[in-house]
């Protein structure tokens, strides 16, 4: 029988805040053997580039890395759906010994001829760097022959966590920016960066901005198109959402094109409204400001009465929130407050010390704050705090379910649109359907009381 008491690993204690003086550490490499919820840089690159629907995404390496990322996310496209296919060089023993450049070349040429993509991204996985394939050279050759951008994404998993992968993806994207002929800036225009169009969220956001008279030049990467990314340098403002997975691109656009950037979150009433007002403020345009106010008023008037019944049921229920990036946690804490719930545990995989400080200030005293946590710690705290709901990614789901706790997926695999005002309503409905289910009465932690 395994031991049931859960003690914190000595070295992990500094990445947890349980109240009192704030002395957290963060942004450390995961401890070997601690079953981190993190993944690898390849995963980060895949997250950012995956939704570009008219590009070919080829994973150079053994099969697993491609199999596990086949159509895993609900990023929608209004047109082509190349991103939903999984291509791999499926390296075999002889390729590992003699090198995979030839195989990669053939694979690319055939796929480009068959699928006619507007660009191709080649993700290098762990063993590629080790066996010494010159992926850049192969890409260059194919690019010259086929006349589309063929871009190596330097995403060997062992080189770091998701964050490094985000950066590699941004480097890849930046190679496409500016490759169209026009250069003049587009008036009253923005790029929406860092939204992946899960369940059509980017369409919701775009609609709000368009109703304000703002033109969306390019979205990275939800419903993304190569043609739009080429134009990204011509927008006047970059809006970077949440976790900042695409913030490196925004920084490059700022340096190269002088485009300012602005952070935003589209989750919850406050943050969504702020995202609209901020843009109007930026353009310093009264008409636009009024339009934003109108959009918000229309949407909120529709929304509030529909939230009321949920709020009534959910008042005082307790939640735990654990996400990939830290920025999303802020929105979730606010959104949960909107529907009457208290956040008692909050954390993220990749937040910084400053993020956690802000988080601590946003939450009630006594809230447990976690950096790069693991199942044992999560289990310990959800039980101690007796939460009614856990919000996280699919890897956290079984922990919650095993202990008989409601769960909501707020990760890239979800199928519900949770952004924008309509998203707030969906969020409330989703939370409500978990928390209020009668099945929890049978969970031992409740039945035993």
């Amino acid at each position: 029988m395994s031991d049931k008491t859960i003690n914190l690993l000595e070295k992990r204690k500094r990445q947890i805040h349980e109240g009192g003086e704030f002395v957290m550490e963060a942004e450390k490499q995961s401890l070997a053997g601690s079953v981190s919820q993190r993944s690898c840089s390849f995963c980060g690159s895949r997250v950012v580039l995956y939704p570009i629907a008219d590009a070919l995404h080829v994973v150079h390496g053994p099969i697993g890395c491609a199999s596990y990322t086949w159509d895993i996310r609900g990023s929608l496209s209004s047109g082509p759906e190349l991103h939903r296919l999984s291509f791999s060089t499926d390296m075999q023993e002889k390729d590992v010994i003699y090198g995979g450049e030839g195989k990669l070349y053939n694979a690319l040429v055939e796929l480009i001829e068959e699928y006619n993509p507007n660009a191709a991204f080649i993700y290098t996985t762990c063993i590629i760097g080790v066996i010494g394939d010159d992926v850049q050279a192969v890409c260059k050759k194919v690019q010259n022959e086929k006349g589309i951008p063929v871009i190596a994404v330097d995403s060997e998993g062992f080189k770091g966590s998701k964050k490094e992968g985000y950066k590699a993806a941004c480097d890849a994207l930046f190679k496409i920016v500016g490759t169209d002929d026009a250069t003049e800036t587009i008036p009253k225009s923005i790029n929406i960066l860092g939204d992946f169009n899960i369940a059509g969220e980017i369409w919701v956001i775009k609609d709000y901005y368009e109703r304000m008279g703002v033109e969306v030049v390019c979205s990275v990467s939800g419903d993304g198109r190569v043609e739009d990314i080429r134009k990204a340098g011509r927008a006047q403002l970059n809006i970077v959402q949440c976790s900042g997975s695409v913030s490196n691109l925004a920084k490059m656009l700022e340096t190269e094109y002088g485009t300012p950037m602005m952070r935003a979150s589209y989750f919850g009433i406050e943050d969504m409204s702020k995202a609209l007002y901020d843009v109007a403020d930026f353009f310093n345009d009264d008409e636009m400001y009024e339009a934003a106010a109108r959009v918000i008023q229309e949407e909120v008037t529709k929304l509030v009465p529909r939230l009321a019944p949920y709020r009534k049921d959910l008042k005082g229920k307790k939640a735990a929130v654990y996400t990939g990036g830290a920025f999303k946690v802020f929105s979730l804490v606010r959104s949960l407050k909107t529907i009457g719930m208290d956040v008692v545990i909050a954390g993220s995989q990749t937040g910084s010390v400053e993020d956690y400080k802000m988080l601590m200030e946003l939450c009630d005293p006594g809230t447990v704050i976690l950096d790069d946590t693991n199942p044992l710690e999560l289990a310990k705290y959800v039980k101690e705090k007796d939460v009614d709901l856990f919000i996280g990614g699919v890897k956290e789901r079984p922990i919650a379910f095993k202990l008989g706790i409601g769960f909501c997926d707020h990760n890239h695999e979800r199928k519900e649109c949770l952004a924008g005002f309509i998203g707030m309503l969906n969020f409330a409905a989703e939370v409500h359907s978990s928390v209020m289910s009668p099945v929890w009465q049978f969970a031992p932690r409740r039945a035993n009381r």
Binding site: G33, E93, I127, L376, K402
Partner: protein
Amino acid sequence: MSCECGKTCAPVDSPENACTSEDKAKCGCGPSKADTPPITGKNFTATRNACKLCAPLGACLAFRGIEGCLPFLHGSQGCATYIRRYMISHFREPMDIASSNFGEESVVFGGRGNLNEGLKHVIEGYKPEVIGIATTCLAETIGDDVGMYVKDFIKGNKDTISMPHLLHVSTPSYAGSHADGYQWAVRAIVDQLAVDGPNEKFIGIFPGMVSPADLRHLRDILSDFGMPFSIVPDYSDPLDGPVWGEYHKIPAGGTPVSEISKLGRASAVIELASTISEKQSAATLLDERFSTAAFRVGLPIGIRQSDAFFKVLEQITGESIPDHHESERGRLIDAYVDGHKYTFGKKVVIYGEEDYVVGLTAFCAEIGLKPVLCASGGKSGRLKSCIQDAAPELDPETEILEGIDFAEIEEAVTHLKPDLLIGNSKGFSLSRKTGTPLIRVGFPIHDRVSGSRTLHLGYKGAQRLFDTIVDKLMELKQDSNDIGYTYI
């Protein structure tokens, strides 16, 4: 018109006179295989929508079936996280997999330091009885000798740490799929744990990569025969357990190490497999090392293969088949009779792990379905011969293809226009695209709640499969008809 092969060419007067493909090849009157484009379309260098996973996944699954065992991947973090996520989506249970979490320095200097540190943390945090270490492609490529590292780790730490059993298996994904990884791990488990000793009266079972429901059913069958037994590995409880009051670091259940170590002393072992090589076989290892009586039967899917399995059990135990299994068999045949008209001649495409494909094809053939493509992403080189042995009535023209991917299956389905697809949930996109209904079996099933509870084995499993398939065919018939018959 008569042909060189001695038969009549088309129009054919009776089925006996029709040319078989061998006849056609003999006299050259039919189109030769070389002229017809492959049914799977153009050949691609890349694998498109793979019909296989990577080897460490299979190894982790096997390790999960040992009591008190924590799977551990030696390599970089991503692989462990992806594999966990993939398995969680199927089993809907916690599936912790530790990782030695390589960084750049591990790649340059080797992963020994990370392995040691990782093992220490896992022992401290989980207090496992067993740690099952499998390698990722990266650790294999840089040439880490995990066997040696583990030995040294034990030597260096046994005085200060209460040492769990440390099992290890080499699982390079460029040398095999998840199905291979599973077999490699089972063999490694047996290799590293089984010891000699006086014979004991019990049966060892190597069940293959079957579902938790299958494992439970095997347990029932063996219990009914009354001889002690041990299923290795058995992840039915760890991967399909009850809701908890307390969090368990390692879920309860699985085969205890003490049972595995006795395997060399068993009365007999039975390996449920058909396409695996001698080198992958745990039963062969026991036979060679301890002269254990080793039997191999294919996955008992359908009546004939279940009969073969029960026969072996009768032989080993000296008992005849328990009554209620006999009557289950009788009821199953009765159901076959009731449903035969709906299945006859309906075309099916079957895909998945090779051993599953063998079992399912034999089952489909015995209920009158017509397999038109039997496909696997695996590459044992034995799929065709195993299928032909298990389903002798199968049309020799049936396409049996190894090393296939879903893009190729889709191409074939467009040509073959089957009535049903039978396989894991990864065929859903092509099922939707081609409008061919999918019967979900095997692993993974990511889009239904019942993955763990899908029963395939024994008469009971055949009954469930038969009912599911016939109900689906009846539903299709009913729905595609304008009248709206309420009796079908």
